[in-house]
Amino acid sequence: MQKRRGATQAEVPAASSLRSTMTSTPFSRARDHLGDAQLVELYRQMMLIRRFEEKCQEMYTRAKIGGFLHLYVGEEATGVGAISNLQPQDHIFTHYRDHGHAIARGLNIDELMAELFGKDTGTSHGMGGSMHFADITKNFWGGYAIVGSHLLLAAGVALACQMQKTNGVVMVFFGDGATNGGEFYESLNFAQLWKLPVVFVCENNLYAMGTPIEVHSSVKEIYRKASAFDMKAMRIDGNDLLTVREQVGEAVEYARSGQGPVLVEAMTYRFRGHSAQDTQKYRSKEDVEQHRSQDPVLIFRKELIDAGVSSSADIDALDATIDEQVEASVRFADESAVPGNEWLTDSGIYAAPLATATVDPDLV
């Protein structure tokens, strides 16, 4: 899955020079670099996210899933394209809209569905739910639900990478709405000041819950906020999978080479409400339909078929496999046991045993 690219910035052809070559496109370049099987793999990831989340919505309606459910539907190209650039020693932090990033990083969807069902077999033993998927074996440090907060944790892991000389890079995802709070600015300052290997990926889906970007941010082009910190930044089409992959790939190599962090603003759009409860009064059906007609997953599917990377029958078969896999995850989650009451004791709250109990023994 790793790109066949050199480790240093100097060996990476600049995207601008690549783009000026009229004969090549992100698609053709990626095909050259990756080969057809890997392109289909990227498609598989996007479609798996899509179908997994459609199933989540269904399970939410059937009250199998509780709490908040923030779907990534429509934004899959950003997560899959960006994460496809990461190596095993790299790290990911994300926000509550974390299903897509988790699946792109290869987390087990049985465990993810089980987490949503509040089961012991879930990635976090049912303690986290939709907003808190994590898998430390994949350096996937989790979804965080306090807007903007996890950027600082990401910078902290990047500091550890730098001090431990692991050559690891931290990729952190967040929304346009997260770029107005102090934690965003603190994290940018720290990262640039100490040249931390962080790739900040802002998923600009034009809304913070129901508040349009024009209403919530003095600067509408989020990537320009990096200029206050002398930080490298770029704005990219977040709906084109291979553009995302290529451009974020440059950002990752830049960060890995020790030159410092990069802020990537990926322009994207969520097709569904902010969360499952959203009535979407703030945007018109026509607007949503307009974007849906540019569905990044379906566009890439068509590109694969049109370019002869895969036959339409093969893709249909792949889609069917994905559906089966998603169904299986529901069965797994359904059949799994609920977490035990030890999670309500000190041993569920603290890693080390306590000298004295915090839980009142006389509790009724």
Partner: protein, 324 residues
Amino acid sequence: MPVLTVREALQQALHEAMADERTFIIGEDIGHYGSTYGVTAGFLEKYGPERIRDAPIAEAGIAGLAIGAAMAGMRPIAEIMSVNFSLLAFDMIINHAAKIYSMFGGKFSVPLVLRTTNGWTQLSATHSQSFDSMFAHIPGLKVVAPATPADMKGMFRAAMADPDPVIFIEHTLMYGIKGEVPEGDYIVPIGQSVLAREGRHITVVTYSRMVHLSLQAADILAKEGIEVEIVDLRTLRPLDMSVALESFKKTNRAVVVTEDWQSYGTSAEIATRLYEHGFDYLDAPIQRVNFREVPMPYAKNLEQQVVVTTDRIVAAIKKVLNRS
């Protein structure tokens, strides 16, 4: 046994901690400035800027980066210059440091030690507070507030060895206090209270700087034949009430002395536990001595009336004894 100040004991503990290559210190003015209260003086020269990280004035960032680094295998010490500024880091401390272990199903923890200081001396309303109860309220945190140089060293050692986030509360008016400190490896476990003074007539339950004031009060009362027993809690979470309850069952009377506001403060929890578990032994209502409930005034004459003094502790003890 060598006699050290609290500052020196802490310095020793921090040097010991720095022997672990995974440890670095991050905080404001810990290096170039020479350290606000002198604790990390000379550290930058000794360990270099990579491990003694002068941070921008960004408390959320200091705590947040330390949490992240701790998650990823480092053993950071974060220093928040004054607890008053920790309010800007509360999201990091409460929503993150305290939650990460359980929220992610125990798959990883936050081995962070966050040092900070209570204290006052005509610093007015925003620089004289203590938020002990706010930290101690939070499941997932461990909160320690040692009183003596020995406990400073021993509990710091325990905090560094702990896989959970530990809030280590110091006091600006305590750095010069002296006491014997064992040499070499010395660990005082988190979550164990201790008797600071034996006595028969009344129990004072307290911690941090108030231990020293209570000891002074006990000296005064001893001259009148009143024997005060003093319990130093040392840790606020997990709260070990065993020593206090044992003492209370003997004396049947208690005064709780804490340097924070009374309403919903640490003394409320301590007194409640005494009532809950010691009701049958109670001979008089428990009396509390705390900050008066106002934002701290600047004027010295007013400030002196807000803070806890030895006189107020003596008066409280006498009041309880006179009732029974």
